[in-house]
C-alpha cells in the first residue's frame, strides 16, 4: 500500500512540476549540464621496441602510425563511433558504417569494445606485412562474424551489403536491390566446394590460392606503407 502511495506521490510531484513549468513558460527542460565524461581512460601503448619485435613494421613506420593514431584519438583508444567517423571520411558518397563495424570487430581482438594502438598495429601488421596466407586468414576472420570457423550465406550477405552500401546511391549502372545477393551467390558457387552451404577456412584458402585475381590483389598491400 505504501508503495502505491509513494508512486502516487511521485507522479503527483511530476505533474505539479510539469504544471509549474508550463506556468512559468519554460516548457523545455533547462539544459542540464551534459556530463562530458572526458574519457579519463588513457591508454599508453607498450614501448616502441617491444612493438617492433611483435610486429613487422620498422621503427619509423610505427612512429608515423602512432602519430596519426594519437592525433585522432588523444586518449589512446578508439571506440566504434570514432572508428566509423574516420572510415566514413574516405567514402563520402555512401554509408560505410556497416563495413566499419565489421572492421572494428575484426581489429578488436580482445572484444573489449575499443581498439588500442596495439590492436591496431597488430591488425595492420598482418594485413600489410603478413604472408598471403595470413592475409587470407585475416579476411576470413573479417567475414566470419561469430568466429565459428565457417561463413554462412547470411554472414556473407551482411558483408556484401555493407560493401555495396559504401557505393551510395549514385552509381552507374543503377544499383539493384538484388546485386549483393547475386554477388553472394556467385561467391558461394566459387568457394563452397562441397556445397554444404557454408564456406570453411580451408575451402576459402584453397579457392583463393587457385584464383589469380585474388592472389594478385593480395599483393597490392605490400606497398601501402
Amino acid at each position: 500500500m505504501s508503495h502505491c502511495r509513494k508512486r502516487c506521490k511521485r507522479q503527483l510531484t511530476k505533474v505539479f512540476r510539469l504544471f509549474y513549468r508550463f506556468l512559468t513558460g519554460t516548457l523545455e527542460k533547462d539544459s542540464v549540464e551534459d556530463d562530458f565524461e572526458l574519457s579519463t581512460v588513457c591508454h599508453r601503448p607498450e614501448g616502441l621496441d617491444k612493438l617492433q619485435e611483435q610486429t613487422k613494421f620498422t621503427k619509423k613506420e610505427l612512429q608515423v602510425l602512432y602519430r596519426g593514431f594519437k592525433n585522432e584519438c588523444p586518449c589512446g583508444v578508439v571506440n566504434e563511433e570514432t572508428f566509423k567517423t574516420i572510415y566514413s571520411q574516405f567514402f563520402p558518397q555512401g554509408d560505410s558504417g556497416a563495413y566499419a563495424h565489421f572492421l572494428f570487430e575484426a581489429f578488436d581482438t580482445n572484444k573489449n569494445g575499443s581498439v588500442s594502438f596495439e590492436d591496431f598495429v597488430f591488425g595492420l601488421s598482418i594485413i600489410l606485412r603478413g604472408t598471403i596466407n595470413d592475409r587470407l586468414n585475416w579476411a576470413f576472420n573479417l567475414y566470419d562474424q561469430n568466429k565459428d570457423g565457417c561463413i554462412t550465406k547470411e554472414e556473407m550477405m551482411d558483408i556484401m551489403k555493407s560493401i555495396y552500401d559504401m557505393m551510395g546511391k549514385y552509381t552507374y549502372p543503377c544499383m539493384h536491390e538484388e546485386a549483393p545477393r547475386e554477388h553472394v551467390e556467385s561467391f558461394f558457387q566459387k568457394m563452397d566446394r562441397n556445397n554444404d552451404g557454408v564456406v570453411t577456412i580451408d575451402e576459402f584458402i584453397e579457392t583463393c590460392q587457385k584464383d589469380e585475381n585474388i592472389m594478385q590483389s593480395m599483393q597490392l598491400f605490400d606497398n601501402v606503407i
Binding site: K60, G68, P173, C208, N213
Partner: protein, 631 residues
C-alpha cells in the same frame, strides 16, 4: 575531403582486404610511389624571419590548401632549404595550429580584415573555424561589412546609376525619398495628405452645433457633408495614384502586392470605392458604416515614413508567443476568480453577478486595478475573494510585464542571432558539402584522366594539346592513393561512382529502355522511337543532361568512330578492359559500360546494328534484349 585523417589512409587501404576475395575482377594498379624520403622530413617554414618547423605529413593533411599542396614549392628557398613566406607570423601561428590540431581559431585581438587576407592567401576557407571562435568571427565580420556597406551606401546614394530606366528611377524615388527633390516632395505631400485624411476622419464625428430647426446636435461630418466628401475624394485620389505608381514601378509586382504596406494601402482606399458603389441602400448601410472604420488604417501608412513604427511592429511580431502566454495566464486567473465570485455572490439579492461571463468583467476590472465600481460584491465572502482577486491581480499583471519587456529585447536580439546562426549553418554546411563534392569531383576528374592514361598515345597527345586534363592530375600522394582505393571499391562491386545529375539521367534512360525492351525483342520498337536511339543522342536531345564540357560535335564524332568496333564481336571480346577515351568528362561513364557487359551479351551484338540503346548491365537476365552502350 578526408582532410584531417590523411594519416589513416594506410588503414583505409588495408581495410580494403575485405573486398579482395569477393571481387570478381582484377584490381587496378596502385599509383606509383614517389620517393619516400620526402614524406618523413621536417619542414622549416620561415615566416618573415620567425621559423616554424613541422612534419611534412602534418601539412599534407589538408591537400587543398597552399601549404598542403604543391603550391608551397613556389615559396621554397633553395639557399636556405626552407619555405619562406613574407607574411604575418602572428597570424601564421594560428594557421599552422590548424594543421596540427584540425581546429582553426580566431584570435580576438587581430583585425578581421588582416585575418581574412591571411586565410585566403593560405587557401583556407573560414567556415572551418571551430565553433569556439566562429560566432565571434562572424560578428566581427558582419560589423566590418556593415561599416563597408554604410560607406558604400552613402556613396551610392549620391551617385545614381547612369542608365536607369524611368521605372527604376521611379522605384528608387519611392523607396529612398532623399535621392531627388521630386521624391522628397512626393514624400512630404503624401505624408501631409495622410495626416489630413486622418484628421478629417476624426473631426467629422465632433458635434458641431445645432441646425436651426432641430434640437439635436449634429456632427460636423453631417453638417459640412459636401466639404468632407470633397476632402475625402481628394485624399483617396492621391492615395490611389500613389499606389498605382508604386505598383507600376515595382520590380516584382507580385512581391509588391504581397507586402504589408501595399495591403495597408489597399485597405485604406477600398472603403471609399465601395462606398461609391453602394450608396443609399439601407440594408447595407450598416456594413457601409463598418467600412468607414477601415479608413483609420490610413494611419498605418505613416509606417512608411517612420522607421520606429516598423521596428515596433517587428518586435510585437517576434514577441507574439510571450504575449500569448501572458494572455493565457491572465485568462486562467480570470476564469478562476470569476467562478469563485459568481458562486460567492450567488446568495445575495439583486446581485450584479448574474452569470460567470458577467463576472468576467468584474474580474478583469479588478485585476487590472481599474475598479470602475459598476459591479461590487456585497457578501462578506464575496468581499474577501474580491480583495484576494485584486491583490493577485497586481501580482499576475505586474510580474510578467517586466519579463515581457526584457523578453522583448532579449528575444529581439536572440532571434536576430538565431537567424544568423541558422543562415550561417546552412552556408557552412553547403560550403563543406561543396568541398566534399569537390573531392568527389576530383575523383571523377581523376577517373577520366586515368582512363585517358591507359589508352592510345595519340589521344593522349591530343589531350595534352588540349591541356585541360593535366591540371586535374593529383600529384599529391594522398589524393592518388585515395582515388585508387575508390577505384578498387568500384571494381569489387562492378558499379561506378557518378554524380547526381548523371545518375538521374541514366536512371531515366534505363526505365525508358526497359519499357521499350519489354515489349518486343526486336529492336524496331514501335511507338517509342527514342527507345532505340542511342544513349548519346538521347542525351543530346535532352537538355537536362548537364555535363561540364559536353559538346554535341564531340558526341557525334565519338559515335561515328566507335561504331565499326561495336559491329565486330571479336574486337569487343579481344579488349575486355578497353576503355575508350572520351575527350570530355561525360563519356567515361558511357564507355566503361562496354567493359561491364558480360560476354554472354556480346553474342547478340551483331543483331543490334541499328544504333543500340543504353546499356543496363543490371539485368543480366534480359539477355535476349541487346544492350549496347552508345559508342
Amino acid at each position: 575531403m578526408a582532410a584531417g585523417v590523411a594519416a589513416w589512409l594506410p588503414f583505409a587501404r588495408a581495410a580494403a582486404i575485405g573486398w579482395m576475395p569477393v571481387a570478381t575482377r582484377p584490381m587496378p594498379v596502385p599509383p606509383r610511389e614517389k620517393k619516400k624520403s620526402q614524406d618523413q622530413g621536417l619542414l622549416v617554414l620561415n615566416v618573415s624571419g620567425q621559423k616554424f618547423q613541422t612534419w611534412s605529413n602534418t601539412l599534407e593533411r589538408y591537400p587543398d590548401t597552399l601549404l598542403g599542396s604543391t603550391e608551397r614549392d613556389f615559396f621554397f628557398h633553395e639557399e636556405t632549404n626552407e619555405y619562406f613566406f613574407d607574411r604575418d607570423p602572428d597570424i601564421f601561428r594560428h594557421i599552422l595550429n590548424f594543421y596540427r590540431t584540425g581546429k582553426l581559431h580566431y584570435p580576438r585581438q587581430e583585425c578581421i580584415a588582416a585575418y581574412d587576407e591571411e586565410l585566403s592567401f593560405f587557401g583556407i576557407i573560414p567556415e572551418i573555424i571551430g565553433d569556439c571562435c566562429y560566432e565571434e568571427y562572424k560578428d566581427r565580420r558582419r560589423e566590418n561589412q556593415e561599416r563597408l556597406q554604410d560607406d558604400e551606401d552613402d556613396e551610392k546614394e549620391d551617385v545614381a546609376p547612369l542608365n536607369m530606366t524611368f521605372r527604376e528611377y521611379m522605384w528608387r524615388a519611392f523607396e529612398n525619398p532623399h535621392t531627388s527633390t521630386t521624391a522628397l516632395v512626393l514624400y512630404y505631400v503624401t505624408g501631409f495628405f495622410i495626416a489630413i485624411s486622418v484628421m478629417a476622419n476624426v473631426v467629422e464625428t465632433v458635434p458641431c452645433g445645432t441646425l436651426p430647426n432641430r434640437a439635436k446636435e449634429i456632427s460636423c461630418g453631417d453638417r459640412y457633408a459636401l466639404a468632407f466628401f470633397c476632402l475625402d475624394t481628394a485624399c483617396v485620389m492621391i492615395f490611389t495614384v500613389e499606389y498605382l505608381l508604386r505598383l507600376i514601378a515595382a520590380p516584382s509586382r507580385y512581391n509588391f502586392m504581397k507586402s504589408v504596406m501595399s495591403i495597408i494601402d489597399v485597405v485604406a482606399i477600398m472603403p471609399y470605392y465601395i462606398g461609391l458603389v453602394m450608396t443609399d441602400n439601407d440594408q447595407v448601410s450598416g456594413a457601409f458604416v463598418t467600412l468607414r472604420v477601415f479608413r483609420v488604417f490610413r494611419i498605418f501608412k505613416f509606417s512608411r515614413h517612420s522607421a520606429g513604427l516598423r521596428i515596433l511592429g517587428y518586435t510585437l511580431k517576434s514577441c507574439a508567443s510571450e504575449l500569448g502566454f501572458l494572455l493565457f495566464s491572465l485568462t486562467m486567473a480570470i476564469i478562476i476568480f470569476a467562478t469563485v465570485m459568481f458562486y460567492a455572490e450567488k446568495g445575495s439579492t439583486s446581485s450584479k453577478f448574474t452569470s460567470i461571463p458577467a463576472a468576467f468583467w468584474y474580474t478583469i476590472v479588478t485585476m487590472t486595478t481599474l475598479g470602475y465600481g459598476d459591479m461590487v460584491p456585497k457578501t462578506i465572502v464575496g468581499k474577501i475573494f474580491g480583495s484576494i482577486c485584486s491583490l493577485s491581480g497586481v501580482l499576475v499583471i505586474a510580474l510578467p510585464v517586466p519579463v515581457i519587456v526584457s523578453n522583448f529585447s532579449r528575444i529581439y536580439h536572440q532571434s536576430q542571432r538565431a537567424e544568423k546562426r541558422r543562415a550561417q549553418k546552412k552556408t557552412r554546411i553547403a560550403k563543406i558539402r561543396a568541398s566534399k563534392s569537390r573531392g568527389t569531383n576530383a575523383y571523377m576528374h581523376y577517373k577520366q584522366y586515368n582512363g585517358h592514361f591507359l589508352t592510345h598515345s595519340s589521344l593522349e597527345e591530343a589531350c595534352k594539346e588540349a591541356g585541360q586534363l593535366l591540371v586535374g592530375k593529383p600529384n599529391i600522394p594522398f589524393e592518388s592513393h585515395h582515388h585508387h582505393l575508390l577505384h578498387c571499391l568500384e571494381k569489387t562491386t562492378n558499379h561506378e561512382f557518378i554524380d547526381e545529375q548523371t545518375f538521374e539521367t541514366n536512371c531515366m534512360e534505363v526505365t525508358m529502355v526497359n519499357k521499350s525492351g519489354s515489349r518486343t525483342s526486336s529492336m524496331s520498337g514501335s511507338s517509342s522511337p527514342h527507345g532505340l536511339s542511342s544513349c548519346c543522342s538521347r542525351r543530346h536531345r535532352r537538355k537536362s543532361f548537364s555535363l561540364p564540357n559536353s559538346n554535341n560535335q564531340e558526341l557525334s564524332t565519338i559515335q561515328i568512330r566507335e561504331r565499326p568496333i561495336v559491329n565486330s564481336r571479336s574486337s569487343l571480346n579481344a579488349k575486355p578492359d578497353f576503355e575508350t577515351v572520351p575527350l570530355k568528362s561525360g563519356h567515361s561513364y558511357v564507355t566503361s559500360s562496354v567493359v561491364t557487359l558480360p560476354p554472354a551479351a556480346s553474342s547478340l551484338l551483331t543483331s543490334s546494328d541499328n544504333g543500340g540503346s543504353s546499356s543496363s548491365t543490371c539485368n543480366y537476365s534480359q539477355s535476349n534484349i541487346v544492350r549496347v552502350s552508345a559508342l
